[in-house]
C-alpha cells in the first residue's frame, strides 16, 4: 500500500509517453522543423485538439468524478480566449499603428497611438474609444492573470450562489446553461466592448516577436498546448488519486451521506467548479491564438453540450477517457466536416457528410449511452479483464439480506 504515486497510477506514464511520442511525430512532420508531411493548418488543428482535450479533462473532473453536469465550461474556455485575445489584438494593432504613424513628420504622442489603436479595433462597431474592460489590454502579464482570474471569479460567484442553494442535478445543468447563454447574448451586443458578433480576430499573429512564419508559431503553440495538457493531466491525476478524489466520488454517489461524514459538500463543489473553470480558461488561452478568431458563437450553449458528449463517449470518471473522447470526436468531426469524405449517392438523394455528420454523432452518442455506458475508455477495462460482477438487479434492502432481486426469485 506504500507504492509511489506513479506506480499506483500507471496510466499517467502511458499517457505522458503517448503524448510525448505524438508531439515528437508532429514536430518532425511539421513544415517548420521537419519533413513537412503535416501541413501548418493540420498542426494548428492538432494543437487545438490538445486544448480541447484539456477542457475535456476539466469537464471529466467536474462531471465524471463529482457528478456536476456543468453546461458552462466552454463559456469559461471562451472567456479565457477573449481575455488573451484582447492583448493579442491590442498589441498587434499597436505595432501596425506605430508603423503607420512613423511616416508622419512629428513623432506620435502616446495619446495619438492609443486613439489610433482604438479606432482600428472598434471602428467596426462604430466606436473609437476603449471601453473600461480594455484597461489592462496593453500588458501581457496583467491580461494573462485576468484570463485565468475572470473565469475563476465568475465560476466562484456563480457556483457559490448555485451550490449554496443546493441546486443539483438537471436544475444545475439548466442554470449553467442559462449562464452560458446570457454571457453569449451579452457578448453579441456591439456595446459589450468586445466588438459584438465580429469578435476578436487576427489572433494568430503573436506580437512582439518579430515576424516568424505561421509554421513556426503553430508549432510553438502546439508544444505549449501539449505541455499544458501534460501538466493538467498529472495535476488532475494527483488530485483524484488521493483522499480528495475519494470524497468527490462519494459526493457524486451520495452527497447527503458525505455531509453526515462531516464534509461540507458545497465547499468541495465550489472548489472543483472554480478549479476546472480556471483549467478550461487556460485551455482557451492556448486555443484561440491557434484558431485565430473568437466570436460570441464560440460560447453558445451547444459548445458545452459537445464537451459533455466528448466526455461521455470517451468514458466518464477516468481521465484518459476524457482525452480519448475529445480527441476522437473532434478528429472525426474535422475529417467529416472538412469535405474530404466522399459523398454517398443513394439514388434518391446524396448523403453529404458535412450535413450528416451531426446525425452520425448523435447516433454515436445514443449508442454509447445504451451499449457502452463506460464509453471508449471502458474498453481498457475489458482488456484488463476487469468486470463488475453482474448480480442482476438492485439490492432488495434489509429484509432479504444480501440477495439481489433476481437471485431472490429462485
Amino acid at each position: 500500500m506504500t507504492k509511489g504515486f506513479l506506480a499506483k497510477n500507471p496510466s499517467i506514464l502511458i499517457f505522458l509517453a503517448a503524448l510525448a511520442a505524438f508531439t515528437l511525430l508532429v514536430t518532425l512532420g511539421s513544415e517548420a522543423l521537419g519533413l513537412s508531411f503535416i501541413s501548418t493548418s493540420m498542426v494548428k488543428t492538432l494543437g487545438k485538439i490538445l486544448c480541447l482535450c484539456l477542457v475535456a479533462l476539466a469537464m471529466d473532473l467536474v462531471w465524471g468524478y463529482a457528478g456536476i453536469l456543468s453546461l458552462g465550461h466552454m463559456a469559461f474556455f471562451a472567456v479565457g480566449g477573449y481575455m488573451i485575445g484582447m492583448w493579442l489584438m491590442y498589441a498587434r494593432t499597436e505595432e501596425i499603428v506605430i508603423a503607420a504613424l512613423a511616416q508622419s513628420p512629428l513623432p506620435a504622442t502616446p495619446e495619438e497611438i492609443r486613439q489610433g489603436i482604438a479606432t482600428q479595433i472598434f471602428g467596426v462597431v462604430g466606436a473609437s474609444d476603449f471601453p473600461p474592460i480594455w484597461a489592462f489590454a496593453h500588458s501581457l502579464p496583467l491580461q494573462l492573470i485576468l484570463a485565468l482570474a475572470v473565469p475563476g471569479l465568475l465560476a466562484l460567484v456563480f457556483g457559490w450562489l448555485a451550490f449554496r442553494s443546493r441546486v443539483t442535478g438537471v436544475y444545475l445543468s439548466i442554470l449553467t446553461q442559462a449562464m452560458t447563454l446570457a454571457l453569449s447574448l451579452y457578448l453579441f451586443q456591439n456595446d459589450s466592448g468586445l466588438r459584438g458578433n465580429n469578435g476578436l480576430s487576427g489572433l494568430q499573429n503573436i506580437p512582439g516577436i518579430g515576424e516568424p512564419s505561421q509554421a513556426a508559431v503553430s508549432l510553438w503553440l502546439f508544444w505549449a498546448s501539449a505541455l499544458a495538457l501534460a501538466c493538467g493531466y498529472v495535476l488532475l491525476a494527483w488530485l483524484v488519486s488521493g483522499k480528495l478524489g475519494s470524497v468527490i466520488r462519494a459526493i457524486r454517489d451520495d452527497e447527503q451521506r458525505v455531509r453526515f461524514l462531516g464534509y461540507s459538500v458545497e465547499s468541495y463543489k465550489l472548489f472543483l467548479f472554480t478549479l476546472t473553470a480556471i483549467l478550461a480558461a487556460l485551455a482557451g488561452v492556448l486555443y484561440y491564438p491557434q484558431a485565430g478568431i473568437i466570436n460570441p458563437a464560440e460560447l453558445a450553449p451547444i459548445a458545452s453540450i459537445y464537451l459533455a458528449v466528448w466526455v461521455a463517449i470517451g468514458g466518464r470518471g477516468r481521465l484518459y477517457g476524457a482525452v480519448i473522447g475529445a480527441a476522437l470526436v473532434t478528429l472525426l468531426s474535422s475529417w467529416f466536416t472538412g469535405g474530404r469524405v466522399p459523398d454517398i449517392p443513394l439514388g434518391f438523394a446524396t448523403l453529404k457528410w458535412v450535413d450528416w455528420w451531426l446525425v452520425l454523432l448523435g447516433f454515436g452518442f445514443v449508442a454509447v449511452t445504451l451499449f457502452a455506458p463506460q464509453g471508449v475508455g471502458g474498453l481498457v477495462d475489458k482488456l484488463q479483464g476487469l468486470r463488475n460482477p453482474d448480480r442482476k438487479g438492485a439490492p432488495l434492502g434489509p429484509d432479504d439480506g444480501s440477495l439481489q432481486e433476481k437471485e431472490a426469485v429462485e
Partner: protein
Amino acid sequence: MSALLEVSGVSVTFDGFRAINNLSFSIGAAELRAIIGPNGAGKTTFMDIVTGKTRPDTGTVRFGERPISLLALSEAQIARAGVGRKFQRPTVFEDQSVADNLTMALKAARGPFKVLFWKETAADRARVAALAAEVGLADQLTRKSGELSHGQKQWLEIGMLLAQEPRLLLVDEPAAGMTLAEREHTTALLVEMAKTRAVVVVEHDMEFVRRLNCKVTVLHEGAVLAEGSLDHVTKNPQVIEVYLGR
C-alpha cells in the same frame, strides 16, 4: 448527570401534518437509549432534526457540555461537532474500496485544501486496519464495498461511524437484515460503544431492544409517550394500545 443532547419543545410540520409535536428528549454523555414507536411516530424525523437535515418550526436542540445550538449549524458542521448517523439502509460508497470508505470517515480535517494535501500516515493505516478488524472486515480491505453482502455493508457503515469518533451516535435499525450471530455481535458492539459515548438506537425489533437492555423511549404521533425500562414501558396501557397490542 448532565445531558449531552437536550432536545426541548421541538415541533415540525410538513404540509400541515405535524410530524413532531412538542418533543422533548435528553441523553447523557455515556448512555445507551432505544427509541421505539409505530410507523410514522416521528423516529426518522427526530434523527433528521438532530443531524440538521430538517429544521424544526419551534424548540431548541442543544449539544455538548457548554451547550451549542445545533439548529444554527449545517449537517456537515453537526457531524464535525460529534454527531454520527447510521442510516437504515446501509449507505456506503459502493464504488470505492472498504479501506477508502474507512479512510474518508477517519477523524481528520474536513476542508477541501486540507484534504487535498492530506497524506496517509502509518498511524492512519493502522487505525483503518484496526477498525476493519473490529467490524470483521479485516480481510476485505481492498475489495470494492459494493461487492460486500448486505450484512457486511452494515458493518462497514458502523466501522465508518466509529472512525468518525462521534460523541453521539444515532443508529437507525442496525440489525435489519442480519443473521442471529451478526445481531449478537452488533448488540455487543453497541453496548461497548455506549460505555464511552451516547448511542441512540431506533429499532422495530423488540427482541433486539430487549437484548440491548437499556432505557427505552416510546414515540407516538411525534411526542414521547412513555420512557423507562422495556418492562416498564411494555406494561404501560397506552403503549400497549398504540404499538404493542395491534
